[in-house]
Amino acid sequence: MINAVLVFNNSGQPRLTKFYTQLDTSVQQRLISEIFTLVSHRPASACNFLPLPPLLASPSPTPPGGQPHADTPSLITYRHYATLYFILISTSTESPLALLDLIQVFVEALDRLFENVCELDLIFNFETLHACLGEMVVGGVVVETGLEKVVGGVREKGRVRMRREVQGMGMGGLGMGVGVEGLAGIGRGWR
């Protein structure tokens, strides 16, 4: 199963965090920063699989040659799109190449939903981002991989979203406010 879905940008600021097990906020942050340090040092030509970060690797050293226990997260797959990293942490029961496809579907679905998606869209509409992920993965189990159905599923509620577009101006303002606040909290300028 999939243990976590993370999206962060090139400077390590999270844009989406979804853990399918309950974790303390501080642990989540540590994990994100560990993965970010791993991922940001990789050249573009490298493969899309990460070694386990220390936080995940230390508790259960897998015996060499032996299969890791199927419950432990053992696979970190990532993909880099423009300014964003998409990370999937999963157990060995998932197929690595299929997970890469899954990220691709996720990004394509976002692209359809936002029409030429960029990082800003994800900040201002991160609720939609969550909804989209919710259409694809529920509780760590992949429930849908068809692009059309994912987009359709979000749009189904998207009507609701559009309806709110009226008060949506306010929503946009909120997004801006959130963006500024959130970034100020980290102490980094918005670019």
Partner: protein, 973 residues
Amino acid sequence: MDLKATALLKLIYLEMFGHDMSWASFHVLEVMSSPKYQQKRVGYLAAVQSFRPDTEVLMLATNLLKKDISSPLPPTMSLPLVTLPHIITSSLALSLLSDLLPRLSHSNPNIRKKTIAALYRLALVYPDTLRSAWPKIKDILMNEEEDSSVTAAVVNVVCELGWRRPRDFLALAPRLFDLLVDGGNNWMAIKIIKLFATLTPLEPRLIKKLLPPLTNLIRTTPAMSLLYECINGVIQGGILEGTEGAREGEEIASLCVGKLRGMIAVEGDPNLKYVALLAFNRIVASHPHLVSMHEDVIMGCVDDPDISIRLQALGLGAGMVNSDNLIAVVERLLQQLRNAPVTTEVADDGRRHSIGVEPAADSDGEDPEERLRPTAEPQDDTPALPAEYRVTIIRHILEMCSKDTYANVVDFEWYIDTLVQLVRLVPAADQAGSEFQGDNAWDLSQEEDVASAIGWELRNIAVRVSTVRTEAVKAANTLLSVSGNDTMAPGGQRVLAFAAWVVGEYFNSSALSYAALDSLIHPKAQTLSPIVICAYLQAIPKVLISAISHESPIWGPERKTMISLLVARVIHFLEPLTTHPNLEVQERSVEFLELMRVTLQAIASHDVQNPDGPLLLTRAIPQLFTGFELNPVAPAAQRKVPLPSDLSLDTPINSDLTGILQRADQDFAGDTEAAEFDTFYNQRPIKKAISGPAIDSLPSLEPETSSYQQNDYTLSDSDALVRKRIQRRERNRDDPFYIGNDDASSGTSTPFHDVLRSTNGEDVDVDSIPIMNLDLGDQALVAESSDKDLRKQKRKRPKKVHITKDETIDNEASGFDETQRAPASELASQQRARDKAKKSLLQVDSSGLSSFSLNSSDTPASQLDIERQEAQDMEMAKALAEVERLRLEMQRASERIQATDGTPAEGILVKKKKKLKLKHPVGESQHQDETGVQAGSTQGLQDAEAAPVIKKEKKKRKPAMPDTNNEKVGGID
């Protein structure tokens, strides 16, 4: 309310950046219960992101969730379905199950598949879910009219459940097979293949059925992911083994390997390279010959710019080496270590080195890559190998070479040379880490440290391969002398301890005694780490003695001055160490210092005309360090030494021991400490010469405990303990076979030794008995295996190398098995315990599930089991009723608070915060206890009264635990 929802949305965003929002959980609940969908959605999202197992308001949400699950609107309905997996607890699962089940037959496929996924997570925390849900899920799977995406979701869930209890899913195989053949959905096909890989070991007939479609898929599919999973399924499902020998078996094996090779060599996609290596890694354990055919591509991957790929290739390398390619592979890795700049070095360092590439290691793609790196990413530090990677390489090299007691190594001089080179390449960071652990982690850190791993190998070679012992000693000597000049890699310090031991133990074979002694008592050595100094201290007298005894035996004034000079230098080295902060170092240096002083006195007082030299120097001290040759002994051998029939551990060695001790105490009560020291140390060597039984020397030993050890032991210990300690120390000192602390086995035999000595008399040398026995018992085996080795080596190379095997007693197969198995199972249980204690962070605990059977008709559950189950259910129901009552109370209380809404929100907030702070430790400890989702019995935390509820639940869970473990082991392995 709108304002609140907006604020909550902002909070969620901030939470993503690591700001705690647990204080707002009540507000989350409020927003969740809003009638407006948009607000509800925010509320649910907040619940997903912020609720933790110890969130107390979860209890209040049950009714809300129930209501929303049965909402007529699909969007509203899917909200709790998506949220549930994140917040589910076993009690919540129980109360929501009845509401979730009807959703499986909802008209909207979207709802159906989400329900299925949610039910899966429910089942993980509350296995009984499956009892009622499984038939429906199965119906959905079997229904061919069902929406394809729902089927896919079911397959996903079944696959997740499948590896936990594969036996229960065998019945589904025909339907899954159909889906695989004409499903047309790659994602689903991948999952099905994964599931079949776990099923085939249970049902060998499946292999035959699966082979044609899998072969077909491998040949035809354009999707790389499906191709890879097919190959993976073939490997993991044991299909390669299952079809061993058959024509199509070979066919598929070569087909798979060929495709994998294509993935590495042709496609050029790093991802494919990586997964192909992963697959090779799985094959290599069972079919090393298949993999070593593709050595060229794999070794190409070792030089890949990507660390992940390198690591995989490296692991593969260790699996596929044989005596033919070992040297080439290791040389190549060494080359890599040498060429890659250390993180701190300048980038073009690599280019400078690559000029001197050895022809053996020079192969395709190496040089261009070296040139490319500095130009391609000048700022990035990727070309520099991280320290961990270096460590991994070194470990792999050691592993490759030492595999099967050096079966692959034909040239040991080369190996020793490699080891010396490796020491120089040990990264510095590792040393810092091990240094940090301090001296209380002596044994632990020894295993961790790479440098000591190298040292261990060096020592191992010196002990086992007597023909290259001279070389090993020379190598160790070089290491020691290099350390004095500071040219050594900073990380390699630990190796010195082993080098010192080798030099000390086997020094007779070298003539460079004075040089070695020089480097050992070099003033720089005093700044080394305590563990190294200890080894040095032990080696110094040995080297000194061998240096002296190698000289001409005629004693004259010239020789007298020279030796006394040497001894004086040693004393000079030892003196500052007597105040060393480390106790072990202090103790040893004090011992040897006194010994040296006595020696100096003996030399001074000795008659110059006497040609024999002082007895102490020529006879007594050498005897301390010579004895039987050390042989490698298997770790379990000690246990197999048969108990002598006349052994009685209960008979006191001396019935009047306490009396003796008391007398001794009185005798020496008035003496000053210095006098005690003197008498003790002056008497000891004389005693050594006569070598009386240990017990006789007890009275004279007593002062020792009251001298420099006093503050540590004497005061607090009982008489018996003191006695034991004295005996042990004295015996070790008297024992000519006791060699340093490096040799653990001589220390462990002591209780034996003691008693045997008392019963058999002093003449019998008990220490040597185990070794003799071991030789006898193992003779045939050793001879045979070494014969094999020899034959193999003869073929390769004319030089014969005898590798000493571990000595062990093979009484008979059964006994052997028993002793082998006992520690194994012990280990396993320890491992399991550790697993439970330290589960990986993101891991979902499913141990409850693995003990659960899907349909009771499938697995023969005895009547008793069912009864017990029912009893548990009853208990659970009772507990739940209690919980429900408490929940209602809480709700009423909160309603009351809400009713008096006039009070400012801060007032409530503060109270909640306090509560949270108080409860956090409780919640955390519980979290560690049960780990993961299971820890979710949060309801108990809300009220002190609820504590018994938790207890009850825990109690109930406990008896189930051992069961589940057994099941797991049996089921999965």
